[in-house]
């Protein structure tokens, strides 16, 4: 069985050797480039080097620009027509990893390589059969997305484009065709709403561009990447000298994505309905927990009354989205202003009208006259107060209001009954 395999291998090698090429001082190889642009997400570049006349394997050692190198080892096989062979071990120059190792199930004789040629005394490693063609193919895929896919008109959408590539290239013993040097030179983005943007210079293979769709609608965002590069063919002559042939190429790949901008919801903010409430104190304000504020109070005539000012909320501020109530805000008193006339408080002790005060500051007023009588009826005093209210709505919007309000006072005094 082993002998039959050896004979078969020898016959094959001899048949191959029968098509030996011949040495040539200069290469006659031709390189052709086919760059096919595509705007539906895919484009490719195809490069081919042809040397139908002569092409020779790369020699062992360094100093050559081929990404591979090979080592030739003579192996005796003791067959009459081919007493020994050259076992060719090909390695990746960068990783030193053998790329032509045989599978474990390879038949005997197994010299640890899938490449071998019958070598007689007159046969040299460089005098081997030629290979006519080598090719390389660069596939370019462009994916375009818009995030979020459905945005609100007036908000920022992110248009993203990313190129992925796949490279298939022949890097064999005789001819190399490679496309390893390419880059995006230009990105052109059409947002679909009449606006475009171009990114030039050293740009990467992926971009993200923010864009605002001002009006509602469906838009088709397009991105086109312009790519330039060069293909390199390496051709070896019979003396092991490498000849590099470069061919520039340019190709465009484009794609599109749908973006939807929905109409911006119409938000409106209704101010809260609030009134002023006061808690009275005779003398200085004392902490009594959480007192209930009043809109009407009694006061003692001639007594300086301290009033803590509070917000009485009848209805909180309301957020309307497209006319529909969406949520209530939270209001707080930031300041107040006494808008009445100067009270009867002793000079320097009463609240001055017209001056805004902090929310925690007390109001000090005094009445020395009893309630006026209007049409035979006692009439309370009205105390006008401007409230500075800050309302925070559920969407985070903060609005400030100045709301005019008042509370009433009934001036009491001690008197005999009857």
């Amino acid at each position: 069985m082993k002998g039959a395999a050896s004979v078969g291998l020898s016959v094959l090698l001899l048949a191959t050797a029968a098509t030996d090429g011949h040495g040539l001082g200069a290469t006659t190889a031709t390189v052709s480039i086919t760059a096919v642009s595509g705007y539906a997400g895919h484009a490719f570049v195809y490069a081919q080097v042809s040397d139908s006349t002569f092409a020779y394997p790369a020699p062992t050692g360094t100093g050559h620009q081929s990404p591979f190198f090979s080592e030739w080892v003579a192996q005796p096989v003791a067959i009459g027509s081919c007493p020994w062979i050259w076992a060719v071990y090909v390695f990746d120059r960068a990783t030193k990893v053998q790329i032509n190792a045989p599978p474990p199930t390879a038949p005997q004789p197994n010299f640890g390589t899938t490449t071998s040629v019958c070598a007689g005394p007159s046969t040299t490693p460089v005098d081997q059969p030629s290979q006519a063609d080598a090719s390389a193919r660069l596939d370019l895929d462009l994916q375009v997305t818009v995030s979020p896919a459905a945005s609100t008109a007036g908000s920022t959408s992110l248009v993203s484009a990313a190129i992925s590539s796949a490279l298939t290239q022949d890097l064999n013993l005789y001819l190399n065709m490679a496309i390893e040097d390419w880059s995006v030179t230009n990105w052109a983005i059409d947002f679909g709403d009449g606006q475009t943007r171009t990114l030039s210079g050293p740009v990467g293979t992926s971009i993200q561009v923010g864009h605002i769709y001002q009006t509602a609608g469906r838009y088709e965002a397009r991105a086109v990447a312009s790519i330039s590069g060069r293909a390199q063919a390496a051709v070896y002559d019979r003396y092991g000298t490498v000849h590099l042939l470069h061919r520039a190429f340019s190709v465009q790949v484009g794609n599109r994505a749908l973006a939807t901008a929905v109409a911006r919801p119409l938000r409106s903010y209704l101010p809260p309905h609030v009134n002023v409430g006061v808690v009275p104190y005779l003398g200085p304000e004392t902490g009594t927990g959480s007192p209930t504020p009043f809109r009407h109070i009694d006061v003692l005539r001639g007594a300086l009354t301290t009033l803590s000012v509070h917000l009485l909320i009848a209805r909180e501020g309301l957020l309307l989205v497209d006319g529909r109530p969406t949520g209530f805000g939270r209001s707080r008193l930031t300041a107040w202003r006494f808008d009445g006339s100067l009270s009867d408080a002793p000079p320097g002790s009463g609240t001055i009208p017209g001056t805004p005060r902090g929310a925690g500051e007390p109001m000090r007023l005094q009445w020395n006259s009893p309630d006026p009588i209007v049409r035979g009826q006692l009439q309370d005093y009205g105390v006008p107060v401007a409230l500075y209210v800050e309302t925070r709505f559920p969407d985070g919007h903060v609005a400030s209001y100045v709301i005019l309000s008042s509370f009433s006072v009934s001036v009491n005094f001690a008197a005999q009954s009857g």
Binding site: V278, V279, P280, Y281, L282, G283, T286, T288, P291, T292, F294, H296, I297, D298, V299, L300, A303, P370, D371, L378, S410, V411, N412, F413, A414, A415, Q416, S417, G418
Partner: protein, 157 residues
């Protein structure tokens, strides 16, 4: 003529004591009324002053005025002593003030327990009792009477 003279003596003997009694009654009644009036003023002013004794915590809780029972009663007794001290024929103002009946009415409407008057607002009601010594009626054995004076004051608009 002699008969007429005898009638005059009879008149003089019979009418003179009556006239004197009437005179004494007039004088002491006037004094009694004056004393009653003075006492009334004293009690009135004491209650009015005491009616400013406001319950401050209740005021802050409700916004309404009512009387602090302890403070108002103390103020009323204090001012009773002050007002009675300067009055004639009042021998022990502090004793009278201490013995005074004082009621604080915060729940209205109500009836003054001493005068029977209607109270619509928080009020203080006071009543004092003091003896009044007659100046002339003592001749007929009527030396003194007990005077009872009541008044109230309220906090009202």
């Amino acid at each position: 003529m002699i008969r007429s003279r005898g009638q005059s003596v009879l008149y003089a003997v019979l009418l003179m004591p009556t006239l004197i009694l009437v005179f004494a009654l007039a004088v002491d009644m006037a004094g009694l009324q004056m004393q009653r009036l003075r006492l009334r003023y004293a009690v009135d002013l004491a209650t009015v002053t005491a009616a400013t004794g406001v319950d401050a915590p209740y005021y802050s809780r409700t916004g309404l005025l009512q009387l602090d029972p302890d403070a108002a009663a103390a103020t009323a007794r204090e001012y009773l002593v002050r007002n009675l001290a300067g009055m004639p024929d009042i021998e022990a103002p502090a004793t009278i003030a201490a013995a005074a009946d004082i009621t604080i009415v915060n729940r209205t409407p109500a009836i003054d327990p001493y005068t029977g008057g209607r109270l619509d607002r928080p009020a203080i009601c006071a009543r004092i009792r003091t003896p009044h010594r007659f100046m002339l009626l003592g001749w007929i054995g009527l030396n003194e009477v007990q005077l009872t004076i009541a008044a109230d004051a309220e906090i009202r608009p």
